[in-house]
Subunit: 618 residues, 2 copies
């Protein structure tokens, strides 16, 4: 299948530098030869429901689809202003070292495509297995489209394993011709990272009612501040006397041209105990922001870059309006403006779809994980320290209905040291299934994610949430708490039918922690004041950290009884004894799924694919 | 390629039961059709240097070769008395559950061959990837020869990964026709296990000198006792005035017909401090055995079933004879006679090849690992508890020559709870290479093994030996010591040139262990007498074991300073400070090698291969 074209590019309005560079592109003749036969069905590749800009200028636009039967992702990369090539790939946390890369490069005459990897020093190598399979390269007025396919798992140890949860995509632009792949100097590249959930769940969209209405909660023509990071706060209000409705869907409303700047958005409902809230439209961290806005924390909707519309399951909707519910809403928008554009105007926000015809169930949100308390701490200098929060059988036995609840979505949450979050459902000591797992979690990318499959939780079940932290850059212990340098380990699970259980979390028993401080004191021959009048954070800060004190703290967390918070609201516990509870004992763990290797036709040989794209630049 | 024959079997002398069953075999007509084309070169498959009987009757005989370029083993299995099929395979420790099996079965009319696996309940399943590749099935007068090939690593998670060190082979005999693979009831099979080192090193044999002489140290026509296990001791003597020689090679001498009974043999040299030793020829555990024989412990030669001749590297030989060396040798033979044959006579032993033309270097033996002391203990109920013994940089700095030493062979040693032994060489805190690793170690199979490559150790290097233990069947702690129910963690490394360093081993500092006992006492609110006058084993026995006490003991062993034994002989230390030494800190670990998957042509489809062997039995 061959395809040749010879068209100049049509340029959207661009800065001088860009226009100049486009000029050179225009004078080149383009002869595109597709050297790789199209594989798979055309419909699969032509239909890319997910889209995200890679760079802050929006010159690189990634669209993709996910085929679960094939266990593969099809990528369509639009390169609006191709220079001498491009790197695109994935790595554990967005670094350019130890990355798995698809590379398009030109030596000034010929162009090539290949699957490569970078070593720990950032040196590029051709992959022995070519797992980024080029399907087509196509010129269009707006730029070059590259279509390629990648299996989730390739069984090549140099390749990234595409898993559920966050994927750190990286890109780099080749601004000069390169002799060979090996000659590319990664550290000199203009590049960046973009976080997305690649493996979107394959969920059928529920039927929407006829009486559905929409409401847009959007920023009122805000001028985006010319700084890298802004959290913008805007207060909105429901009409007076607005009765109870169900939100059944919501979607982003992003101002055209700002797709690369609007990083994430959330709509919060304010606390019902206040009759009114002040108006506000400004940065969330401004000193002018009224304190009362801190009481607007109940999430109604959350969206992050790359996410699509969020649909509630057809049996449930999120209640808003009506008595006992605040009329006041807070819209929060995270603008990410690393190129410090000035004067950009934005009216982005979220469009709520709601109905007065209430669905059978109200949806609820429950907090799983760890209580916000300093007794749960992470020693400094750790690269993967694990803390675990429990929702015990005793609590679910008491608080859940006999028919159980259905968890359909989840939002993971930690502060800056968080690296992984996993919640697992266990029954009678045996792990049953993963509720939600993000092994490349980033605190900078917190979405509400639909689950691939709804998880049923019954009375007596246990929900175990483990968070992995990295404190390599810290010199003192990180304790649990609300501060940005303190830590949390939370999974907000969205479920139905709503119950009274708002919070099912744990922390180590403080008496056992006190024994630990004593033990450390005695074992280490140190004269540290571990007196009870000293606060827990102070005691943690004064520990002389070494592998023994670290390991014994781990052993303590894996052994000591827990204090359970099995609460109706953040302060009201269900009746019962919740102190010094035994740790759930897990006798059977879930097996790590063994990755499926690509089915035949297998990967291609380890040679770059030549592409005739004409001369890219002169 | 087809091949048909019709021959009756020729029977060797067998017992009545066997003769009767052979009769039925004789009346069947055999038509052998090779349905699988021969793959690979004929020379590779026809040359099987390694051979071992699988069963105690010697009816199943396995030969094999190893191709490192292909990363595959070719097996030739001789089935002397085929009934309705055979299972042959590998599993972690010789169990029939979770095993990887090649199965030949007959439904009474047709025969099939397939790659199967057994689940945790012993149920057989056809493998989705057929990695035991049948190359040929051939009738011969002595029985049926099956030739098949298996890659070391198949990347099929159901398959066994063939690694260096011990492999537990299993076999099972089908005595009745079976409808299908799934119908095979593993628990009802007549079967067993055989331990071998499958991946023999590929070593070129050094040239042997012209003046080489041989000496056989063999049992003098012993009647093998009619009991399952016998350790037979026989005292031999070198001629008076026998001068210093170098042993440069040795090999087993096994009496024909006893190949399945002689399990392992060792020749020990007696201690030089005694002028004479009594004669003895009888069981090693007899009350009649003179106590002085316990002073014959210096290993000169060791052989175990499946092992071949042992060659010293051409630069070195093992010194024996001459002044300062005892004339007395003890031969120890382990007879394994599970079928309790009576009256079998045996004259097996070891043939030493030695020369008076001394080679440039004497070979030496050095003990690495843990000191025999109760301070190193394993809690009860553990499935993989790890203890580590260190040979520190300080000791090698002092004791090794500037040019270093070359380790060419290794014998791993633990008592009954040992499951894995690994020694790693580290330099400046970075692991360099594995000296010897056995991840399926069995205390019942202790060979001297040639290393695949000679390991050079220089002053300042560290040798770290880790042993993994299983104490699931024990109810109290297992302490270090000489007793069979106490534990050891030792690697006897064979090296040249010989140095004064005989022992480079460690144990935890006893003062830190005392702090541990105090800590356990205080943390657990128990009133156990952890007074210093109580012995260390008694203190370990009185610990109320739980995960915390277990984990803190692990943390202690990973943290506390060590007492080094850097000794010229078992009692004489090199001068220096050897107490409270810092643990070697390892900043860079060796990566687990990622297994190579089989190269194309890939595995065969998941269907059994039909074999026309005629009707096997009626």
């Amino acid at each position: 299948m061959q395809n040749s074209r010879s068209k100049p590019c049509s340029c959207p309005s661009l800065k001088m530098r860009e226009v100049a560079s486009m000029y050179f592109t225009m004078v080149a003749a383009f002869l595109v030869i597709l050297v790789v036969a199209l594989q798979g069905s055309v419909s699969r590749q032509s239909d890319f429901p997910y889209k995200v800009p890679l760079d802050p200028e929006g010159l690189l636009e990634l669209s993709w689809n996910v085929s679960y039967p094939e266990q593969a992702v099809h990528f369509q990369l639009l390169i609006r202003d191709l220079q001498f090539g491009l790197l695109f790939g994935m790595s554990d946390r967005g670094e350019f070292e130890n990355a798995d890369l698809a590379v398009l490069w030109s030596d000034g005459h010929n162009s090539y495509f290949g699957d490569a990897w970078s070593d720990a020093k950032g040196q590029l190598h051709m992959d022995s297995q070519q797992d980024y399979q080029l399907l087509s390269a196509r010129r269009a007025p707006e730029g070059l489209y590259l279509l390629f396919r990648r299996a989730f798992s390739t069984c090549d140890p140099k390749d990234y394993l595409i898993e559920d949860g966050t994927v750190h995509l990286i890109y780099g632009i080749l601004e000069k011709p390169v002799r060979s792949l090996q000659a590319i100097n990664i550290s000199a590249l203009h590049g960046g990272l973009q976080r997305v959930q690649l493996l979107k769940p394959n969920i059928s969209i529920p039927e929407l009612p006829r009486d559905m209405k929409t409401m847009e909660i959007t920023a009122p023509d805000v001028v985006i501040p010319s700084q890298e990071t802004t959290y913008w706060c805007y207060m909105a209000e429901l009409p007076e006397g607005f009765p109870k409705h169900h939100i059944i869907m919501y979607e982003p409303v992003v101002t055209a041209g700002n797709e690369a700047l609007v990083h994430h958005m959330e709509v919060f409902q304010c606390a019902a105990e206040f009759d009114s809230f002040p108006q506000y439209n400004g940065p969330c961290d401004s000193k002018m922001k009224p304190d009362r806005l801190n009481y607007c924390r109940h999430v109604l909707a959350a969206w992050a870059m790359g996410a699509q519309a969020f649909y509630y399951p057809e049996e449930a909707g999120l209640a808003f309006g009506g008595p006992g519910s605040s009329r006041y809403l807070r819209l929060e928008i995270h603008y990410h403006n690393p190129l410090v554009f000035k004067g950009r105007r934005d009216s982005s926000g979220i469009r709520l779809y709601y109905t007065a015809t209430l669905r059978p169930h109200d949806a609820g949100i429950m907090e799983l994980g760890l209580v916000y308390t300093p007794v749960m701490a992470i020693p400094p200098g750790e690269d993967n320290f694990i803390l675990t929060g429990y929702c015990t059988d005793k609590c679910t036995q008491l608080a859940l209905p006999t028919a159980g609840i259905r968890i359909f979505a989840s939002q993971l949450h930690t502060h800056l040291a968080g690296r992984k979050v996993v919640t697992v459902l266990a029954r009678e000591g045996r792990e049953q299934q993963v509720v939600n797992a993000d092994r490349h979690y980033s605190p900078h990318f917190q979405e509400i994610r639909m689950l691939k499959e709804v998880v049923a939780v019954f009375p007596g079940d246990e929900l175990i949430t483990t968070c992995t932290y990295n404190t390599e850059d810290r010199s003192r212990a990180t304790v649990g708490g609300f501060g940005i340098l303190e830590e949390m380990c939370v999974n907000y699970v969205h479920y139905y039918p709503q119950t009274q259980l708002e919070l099912c979390k744990s922390a180590v028993d403080p008496g056992y922690l006190h024994r630990y401080f004593n033990l450390v004191n005695r074992f280490n021959d140190e004269e540290i004041c571990m007196c009870p009048q000293v606060s827990v954070p102070q005691q943690f800060y004064s520990i002389p950290w070494n592998t023994f004190n670290r390991d014994v703290l781990k052993s303590l967390y894996d052994f000591a009884p827990i204090s359970m918070h099995c609460n109706k609201s953040s302060a009201v516990r269900f009746p019962g004894e919740w102190e010094k509870q035994p740790l759930p004992s897990i006798t059977e763990r879930l097996r790590e799924p063994s990755p499926r290797c690509p089915p035949s036709p297998g990967p291609q040989p380890a040679a770059p694919v030549p592409l005739n794209l004409g001369q890219l630049r002169r």
